[in-house]
């Protein structure tokens, strides 16, 4: 078939276009080869860069944390009601507030409560809600042990263990996010996400637990917090030693804590190492047995 001068051969036209596409693709690959990789060194290559970026937490994120924590607290109290002893509740609140005041989340209002459960356990919901069971209080011998347990739970909150694990944040309110939600049909995302977050926190507290490292981190920071507040550093270790005995002799009493935490013996060893490293294993600070006995017994 003959073609007029200047007329392009369709096959050649498509071919040249393909070569241009291939050249563009190779240019894009070259950019990748030259990519600086320092920022991503610690991550898996399959991760995506935008997911590794640190986003500063906003006031809206704080409010989201508190809202989720408040709802979780309501569910915990629906499961185990408060012990009807206002004096005991006031005392635990005073001890907890004193410890929390030495932490680094002054933006939170802290709430401490004793729940009416025989089980030996304590919980922390995001946003400043801390619970200790009547069964746990029964096994404590002094205020330093109570402060140590509360400090462990406070550390979960100040270190944002649950918040980070479940990525509890406010829905984005940027124009881009609004457009995305509109096109993606995700306008109900905020409501659904809130409900899911509450369910997930309950699962973490009563079923799955946090990561082992988070629990050991809470022990570490909790112990230091109790020491800064002025309590005997051996308070939490003494309590853990008793918990370890339960894990040996009466597993039912510590069923949830055993399921959701590393073994008490392992935590105890880690704390003893920490105290030695920090030089606080012989530190003499009050345990306040009498005051504890007056309010708890």
């Amino acid at each position: 078939m003959t073609r007029a001068r200047g007329e392009r051969n369709p096959a050649r036209f498509a071919g040249s276009w393909a070569w241009r596409g291939l050249a563009g693709f190779l240019a894009l690959c070259l950019m990748g080869v030259l990519a600086p990789a320092a920022a991503e060194e610690e991550s898996s290559p399959r991760d995506r860069l935008h997911m590794l970026a640190e986003d500063p937490r906003t006031e809206a994120d704080l409010q989201a944390e508190i809202r989720v924590g408040r709802e979780v607290a309501a569910r915990i109290l629906a499961r185990d009601p408060l012990v009807e002893d206002p004096e005991l509740q006031r005392y635990v609140n005073l001890v907890g507030s004193a410890v929390a005041a030495h932490g680094d989340r002054s933006e939170l209002s802290w709430y401490f409560a004793v729940t009416d459960s025989d089980e030996v356990n304590a919980y922390a919901a995001p946003g400043g809600y801390v619970f200790v069971t009547r069964g746990a209080l029964k096994e404590m011998r002094d205020e330093a042990e109570l402060a140590g347990v509360l400090a462990h739970e406070i550390a979960h909150i100040t270190r944002r263990h649950i918040v980070d694990a479940l990525d509890i944040r406010a829905p984005e309110d940027s124009p881009l996010a609004g457009i995305t939600r509109f096109f993606g049909g995700a306008t109900e995302v905020a409501r659904v996400a809130f409900s899911e977050a509450v369910d997930q926190v309950m699962d973490v507290l009563f079923e799955d637990g946090l990561r082992r490292e988070d629990e050991l981190d809470a022990d570490h920071h909790g112990l230091m917090l109790a020491v800064r507040t002025g309590y005997d550093p051996a308070g939490l270790p003494r309590y853990l030693a008793r918990l370890a005995e339960f894990e040996e002799d009466d597993k039912d009493a510590v069923e949830t804590v055993a399921r959701t935490h590393p073994p008490a013996s392992e935590r105890l060893e880690a704390l003893e190492r920490l105290m030695e490293e920090q030089g606080i294993d012989g530190l003499e600070q009050p345990a306040r047995e009498e005051r504890f006995a007056r309010h708890v017994r």
Partner: protein, 451 residues
């Protein structure tokens, strides 16, 4: 739309997208041949549709995947993975994801020198809700649900050709081709080991196609009498639905290398094929000597024929294999190869040839907020290279997209363009095949959200 009255004649109103005044013979004959051929020459030969049962990569699916030329089988770690390789969605992590894509899609096919020295061109353009998917981790594995539009044609062609000699003649070709192929269904994926996952999607497959073709020929001898008018109407409708399971496997060979594979097939459960022809003949295309090769209807003929059947077509099995190399969270590259088996299409009366496609894609993060994606891909025909009735055009395409990320969401703007050349047969089969040049362009806006 253009409108014109033709002075000196019977002032017939003409409404057309394109109005052409062309030289006479052999144009008259070409127009008649074209008219007969695209409406189907008999009841058993359906009208020729523009799109595109002849290719398998007409529209790139997904957000990230479309920007990477569809090379996604070994990546598949977001909602688009539900379509490409459901085993990959285990890599979505513990996030709930939703993703959607809307695309402006247009195609153009030009048949060279069909109308004498002039080309004949067919166009389609439509806005497509291309994809929606959602992924959610559960206790055992990850579940998802997706809706995919894999092909869509909206052709509304309205052309009028005028032959300026005695007798004066006007040919009007009005062609409406509407086709949609979509899939909707749930998916589930499970991590078997740290490195191997499997997954499946069970799509319900729908295809709706309706081609309506009107041909009107007006012949005026200029003697003051009423013009001869010949009209032929053909409607061809094929609807079918069935199940299209997709099974996939993903193997993370190392931290940086992954291999993925998927297989899919379609089993048609129900089909409805309907055809109607109405023809009103006159002497306009039926000269007394009977030497014309083609005519719409014979003089004096009034035909009305309908046929209906529930004949179910076969569909090919498709196997995809992909490999991906993750250099770092900033850059990755992936490649896909797919093979489609040969099968018999009893409705179209053709053997659908086996064919293959390949794609190569990459993603590069400019920073933690912006990512650039690019890809090249093929879209090869499943028709014989020795053209008999259906076009044989192999496309080569490229895609490019830019994504902007915020904390929980991303929005992507991209373009995919493919083009190719080959041969077609819009004139009767005893004529030599015509050169064809075709192109397809999609501009897509996509978004994804994790929560």
């Amino acid at each position: 739309m253009a409108s014109s009255n033709l002075p000196g004649r019977n002032a017939l109103p003409v409404m057309c997208d394109e109005c052409h005044r062309l030289s006479p013979e052999p144009l008259r004959q070409s127009l008649l041949l074209l008219a007969v051929c695209i409406t189907g020459s008999a009841m058993l030969v359906p009208a020729k549709a523009l799109g595109d049962e002849f290719h398998y990569r007409d529209i790139l699916i997904g957000d990230r995947a479309a920007g990477m030329g569809g090379a996604y089988t070994a990546v598949s770690d977001d909602t688009a993975g539900l379509y490409y390789n459901p085993a990959g969605i285990v890599h979505a992590g513990d996030r709930n994801l939703s993703g959607s894509v809307n695309a402006w899609h247009e195609t153009s096919t030009t048949y060279r020198d069909v109308l004498g020295d002039d080309d004949w061109r067919r166009d389609s353009a439509a806005l497509i809700p291309n994809f929606f998917g959602i992924v959610q981790p559960i206790e055992r594995g990850v579940v998802g649900f997706s809706f995919v539009v894999t092909d869509l044609i909206r052709e509304d062609q309205d052309q009028t050709f005028t032959v300026e000699e005695e007798p004066w003649e006007q040919f009007t070709i009005n062609l409406n081709d509407s086709q949609t192929e979509y899939k909707i269904g749930p998916s589930w994926a499970l991590e078997l080991t740290d490195d191997v996952s499997i997954g499946g999607s069970l799509y319900v497959y729908f295809r709706e196609q309706e081609v309506i073709n009107n041909q009107l020929v007006i012949e005026d001898f200029g003697n003051g009498g009423p013009p001869d008018t010949e009209w032929r109407y053909v409607q061809d409708q094929n609807d079918e639905w069935g199940l299209r399971p997709v099974l996939g496997i993903m193997w993370d060979v190392t931290d940086q290398w992954a291999i993925g594979a998927s297989i899919r097939g379609t089993q048609i459960i129900s089909a409805d094929n309907y055809n109607i022809l109405i023809c009103h003949g006159s002497s306009a295309t039926d000269p007394p000597d009977g030497t014309r090769e083609a005519f719409l209807c014979q003089e004096g003929e009034v035909r009305h024929e309908e046929s209906e059947s529930d004949t179910r077509r076969e569909h090919p099995w498709e196997t995809r294999v992909g490999v991906a190399w993750f250099h770092s969270p900033r850059w990755m590259i992936s490649a896909d190869f797919s093979y489609h088996t040969e099968h018999r299409d009893v409705v179209r009366g053709r053997t659908v040839q086996a064919t293959w496609n390949a794609a190569l894609g990459t993603e590069y993060y400019l920073n933690s907020r912006w990512a650039l994606r690019g890809g090249i891909y093929t879209n090869r025909a499943n028709t014989p290279s020795q053209v008999e009735r259906f076009d044989h055009v192999n496309y080569v395409g490229g895609s490019l997209s830019l994504a902007r990320f915020s904390r929980n969401s991303s929005i992507t703007l991209g373009v995919a363009h493919s083009q190719g050349s080959g041969q077609g047969q819009v004139l009767p089969v005893d004529r030599p095949p015509q050169d064809v040049r075709a192109s397809s362009t999609s501009i897509f806006l996509s978004s994804s959200y994790n929560f």
